[in-house]
């Protein structure tokens, strides 16, 4: 049995071994530290200057500063679009250690819906590091106060203020004024194409509709710059140098908000539009389309629910009926056609035709009817306008032919953009042979020509086109572009833009224009006139023309029966007018969709609008009539 060798531990030797190893380790540590030091020497001494430069560029940034958007006033200085400070709660996720906890604590502090939290998480995707992201926008003052008191509990969370657009009149002005909203991808593309990228660097919103969109370049202003010391969260520590932004121009519109309020009141519950303008300049007083909607919804991003409700509404509130609505102009263009007939000597003022309620063409097996079943009897050009005789115009159209009608109506602006300062405009349609060939690949038939005489067939026009044509008529061929903008607000005196003119229509004989305008006077002021009843008691002398546009083709030998026609196929009621008839200060067009006859439905609204207009802008005494005076004038003109 082998003896187990008893070893005696040599403590001294072991101690020396450990001490030696400790010494070796110490030397090793010193060597490693020398390596660290040499690395730091390279960074801090050899490459110092390069890093110094990088450090300097790191902290000094040139930040763009958004200009304040120009304000918008109505013609009397009432503010229509203003900038209000809004507060939003913004988080820098990188600076928050426990994001979920922070958000849930914020939720208990302020009322933040889960939907907003979801949107916040969605917005985080693809954002730059340390970029603040909004959790809640449009904080109330109470929210701001509550958060401020608890700010120290929320590192990485802050309340940011910026200016945001507000429209105090809401839906009253929407279609004319439009709105601004966040710049989206498409807008950005346009901005880049226009070479305005630099100018929009700090801008959040851009005009999306109406005047806000059309006059964007005036309203936007010029970007400014700040040379600032910032932290990596782009938070400004101090401003070193600044070039202040140039605020956008404050613009004044021709619109009168009070007339818009009146129009909204009168059109309540109806689909339609009222456009009023100044025949002397083409300036637009009123451009109201009903139904409307609140533009403020769009400024901070409309919810899907609200937007799809607007989109799917059968009343189509998003359409600007004044400039985008394409309506058959119906009888409202009879004065223009009469003028054409007179100027081109197709008709004479005295010649009459016999109207027995029906119109036939030789060898054509089709009957065109007058709106009055038994006809108007003997009718000359004046009476044809006053009583709105259809047969007279069927005959006129037949004798004139589509080519001449089309060309002359083009001169009045039909079938073309008026050039109003809105991008939401349609050119509607003035039919011609070429158009029909291009559109349907069909020849123009004589049967197509006849209803053009009463503003039907393929003829459509926008209300703003119609009002422009009335202004041209009133001005004896002088043409103006309808303008919503009136000028620029200046510190001392406002700068008013000059009216924009178009090539005038050559006048053959002034008398022809007088005849037509007198006939329009007769529509309102002679007892058989279609709008006589509506304007009987007015204190001013106006002229006008009613119109009833058929949307439903009545079969031969059938009678149009309003009760049995579907609501959306009922006639459009229209009225155009101006006053005073011998020195016009205002022109108007009223269109009511599917409302029935123009003289019974549209004329009374035009009357109320004009009454209110002259209440706001009183006429000189010589143009004002008491009822007695008016009666004697009536009797005098009746002869």
């Amino acid at each position: 049995m082998p003896i187990k060798r008893q070893t005696i531990r040599d403590h001294t030797a072991e101690a020396n071994l450990v001490t030696r190893r400790a010494f070796v380790a110490f030397i090793g540590a010193v060597c490693i530290l020398l390596a660290v030091i040499s690395n730091l020497y390279v960074l801090q001494v050899k490459k110092h200057e390069a890093f110094q430069t990088r450090s300097n560029t790191n902290r000094i940034k040139v930040l763009p500063v958004a200009p304040n958007r120009g304000l918008i006033y109505d013609r009397n200085g009432v503010i229509l679009a203003e900038n209000r400070p809004v507060f939003s709660l913004e988080l820098v996720p990188e600076s928050i250690s426990d994001l979920d906890d922070t958000i849930s604590r914020l939720q208990t502090l302020l009322s933040i819906a889960d939907e907003q939290v979801e949107r916040f998480h969605k917005n985080r995707d693809g954002q730059r590091r340390f970029k603040p992201i909004a959790l809640k926008t449009l904080l109330s003052e109470e929210d701001v106060a509550i958060f401020s008191a608890h700010k120290h509990l929320f590192p990485g969370v802050s309340v940011e203020a910026r200016l945001s657009r507000h429209y105090p009149f809401g839906e009253i002005m929407t279609h004319a004024l439009g709105y601004v909203a966040k710049i989206n991808k498409k807008d950005l593309q346009k901005i880049v194409e226009a070479g305005e990228e630099e100018n929009y660097k700090a801008t959040y919103d851009t005009g999306k509709l109406g005047v806000e969109r059309f006059h964007e370049s005036k309203l936007h202003g010029k970007v400014g710059y700040q040379q600032v010391e910032v932290n990596s969260a782009s938070r400004i520590i101090r401003v070193l140098d600044a070039t202040p932004p140039e605020p956008g121009q404050d613009i004044i519109l021709n619109l009168d908000v009070r007339l818009h309020e009146k129009a909204a009141e009168l059109l309540d519950g109806k689909r339609g539009t009222v456009v009023m303008s100044d025949p002397e300049t083409g300036g637009i007083y009123t451009l109201y389309s009903n139904p409307s909607y609140d533009p403020n919804l769009f400024v901070h991003g409309i919810s899907n629910k609200n937007y799809s409700a607007l989109l799917s509404s059968p009343n189509r509130p998003l359409i600007n009926r004044a400039t985008q609505g394409q309506y058959p102009p119906a009888s409202t263009i009879k004065p223009h056609l009469a003028l054409l007939g007179l100027e081109q000597k197709i008709i004479t003022p005295d010649e009459t035709i016999k109207d027995n309620g029906q119109y036939r063409l030789p060898k054509v097996n089709h009957v065109w009817r007058d709106w009055k079943r038994w006809g108007h009897g003997d009718v000359n050009v004046t009476k044809a306008i006053e009583v709105s005789c259809d047969i007279y115009y069927y005959d006129l159209a037949y004798r004139t032919g589509i080519d001449k009608m089309s060309a002359y109506m083009n001169e009045f602006g039909f079938g073309d953009y008026t050039g109003i300062d809105l991008y939401e405009e349609s050119d509607a349609n003035m039919p011609s042979r070429g158009w029909k060939r291009a559109r349907f690949n069909e020849p123009w038939y004589i049967g197509d020509t006849i209803p053009v005489g009463i503003g039907q067939s393929f003829w459509t026009a926008t209300p703003v086109q119609i009002v422009q044509s009335i202004n041209t008529l009133v001005n004896r061929g002088e043409r103006y572009i309808p303008q919503i903008i009136r000028g620029t607000k200046m510190e001392n005196e406002d700068k008013i833009d000059l009216p924009k003119t178009l090539r005038p229509i050559p006048v053959v004989d002034e008398k022809n224009w007088d005849i037509v305008i007198d006939a329009m006077y007769g529509v309102v002021n002679r007892e058989h006139g279609t709008a006589f009843r509506a304007f009987k008691t007015s204190s001013y002398q106006s002229a006008g023309k009613s119109g009833t546009a058929q949307l439903f083709t009545v079969a031969q030998n059938e009678k149009y029966d309003a009760k049995n026609v579907a609501a959306h196929l009922k006639d459009n009621a229209m009225y155009v007018g101006f006053a005073p008839y011998n020195a016009p200060k205002v022109s108007i067009v009223v269109v009511l969709e599917n409302a029935g006859g123009g003289s019974a439905n549209a004329a009374p609204i035009a009357r109320k609008m004009m009454d209110y207009f002259f209440e706001l802008y009183p006429l000189a005494d010589e143009y004002v009539y008491s009822p007695e005076e008016k009666k004697s004038v009536l009797e005098y003109t009746k002869e």
């Binding site: 190893r21 380790a25 110490f26 690395n39 110092h48 300097n56 910032v230």
Partner: protein, 362 residues
């Protein structure tokens, strides 16, 4: 004076070094934290708690530590397993164990339990240790290292592996064996890269090799930190005047990246002074280790001291772009409670070893 501190079991030389270091830490945190006095108050409170812990541990004789080594290790490993099974997730990693009363990271305990265990095991036998004892030691080191790496906490698992290996090294592991093991580890690296490392860990290494490749995410820390250090220059920008840190370009600036703040504001000269303090503390720790009475004490004190050095090296290395970014604080300077308590607990044990000598020596 010395006698008074000796009676309290406080090693005066070491204590002064630690206090100087902690003061440097507070000064730098004040600047890095945006001159937030609240931060200083919190850090001071933690320092107070940690120093109290150190003082208590210094009163306990080294023989006690030797006796509880195995238990500490076993309990620690059990808790690591528990963390993996039921641990709390914080910042994407499972490190915390919630015992209702306190919430802590068991990996911190292992920073002391591992060197204690290995030292206990190695010192049972003659030094230098035989190859089979070295092998057992390796296995004992590997268990907690892998468990912690799985959490995943690369920085801590690295520190723990080092603390165990240092014991083997100090115990006299033969140079030739060290060479073989190094070769073996070198061969193991590619296997680790292809089979064991997670995507984000690989990304960290890649970013470390070329930080400019990813200047907005992982590389951002390194680039900004190098700019801070480099722009500091020889003399630094002055206290509270480091633009990189004051303008918040530096991330984690009062915790892991505090060395960048310090370098920016105090320059290379300041860094040399700081390194001198560290070297002084390490030297003092090694002297205590050399003077200790028994092998266990020597090995434990030496290992704790050298691990402390690894903290310094890894942190400075990662902040200055020499090493990949692993979450290791600058010891006793970085803001943070957990590492502070563990580090000072370690120094408590060293002080116990340095001041408590059995009367019947030699």
């Amino acid at each position: 004076m010395r006698k008074f501190f000796n009676a309290l079991h406080i090693d005066l030389w070491l204590f002064v070094g630690l206090l100087v270091l902690m003061s440097v830490g507070l000064i730098t945190i004040y600047s890095a934290g945006g001159q937030d006095i609240g931060l200083i108050q919190r850090q001071t409170t933690r320092l107070g708690i940690a120093l109290t812990g150190m003082f208590i541990l210094a009163q306990i004789p080294p023989s006690f530590y030797r006796r509880v080594s195995v238990y500490a290790f076993v309990v620690g490993v059990a808790m690591l397993v528990a963390v993996i099974l039921f641990g709390d997730v914080g910042k994407g990693a499972q490190r915390w164990l919630d015992l209702k009363v306190i919430r802590f990271q068991p990996s911190e305990i292992m920073k002391l339990a591992v060197p204690m265990m290995i030292a206990w095991y190695i010192s049972k036998f003659d030094l230098p240790p035989k190859t089979q004892h070295i092998a057992v030691g390796f296995i004992l080191v590997c268990i907690p290292t892998i468990l912690i790496a799985k959490q995943p906490d690369l920085g801590t698992s690295l520190l723990i592996a080092c603390s165990g290996l240092f014991v083997l090294f100090l115990g006299g592991m033969r140079w030739r064996l060290i060479g073989y093991v190094s070769l073996l580890l070198g061969a193991f690296l590619p296997i680790m890269w292809f089979f064991l490392m997670k995507g984000y860990q690989k990304q960290r290494v890649l970013t470390f090799l070329n930080p400019e490749s990813d200047p907005h995410n992982t590389g951002y820390h390194i680039i900004q930190s190098k700019i801070a250090i480099g722009s500091g220059g020889l003399e630094g920008k002055g206290w509270l005047h480091g633009t990189q840190s004051q303008l918040e370009f530096l991330p984690e600036r009062h915790t892991d990246f505090i060395f960048a703040v310090y370098s920016e504001e105090f320059g290379l000269l300041g860094v040399l002074a700081l390194l001198a303090i560290y070297l002084y503390i390490i030297g003092r720790g090694l002297i205590i280790s050399a003077r200790a009475q028994d092998a266990y004490s020597k090995l434990l004190a030496g290992s704790i001291t050298l691990t402390f050095f690894v903290y310094v090296f890894v942190n400075m290395g990662m902040v200055s772009g020499m090493l990949p970014v692993v979450g290791v604080p600058l010891p006793l300077v970085s803001f943070g409670g957990t590492s502070m308590v563990t580090l000072l607990a370690g120094f408590g044990i060293i002080m116990s070893i340095g001041t408590q000598k059995r009367l019947l020596s030699r």
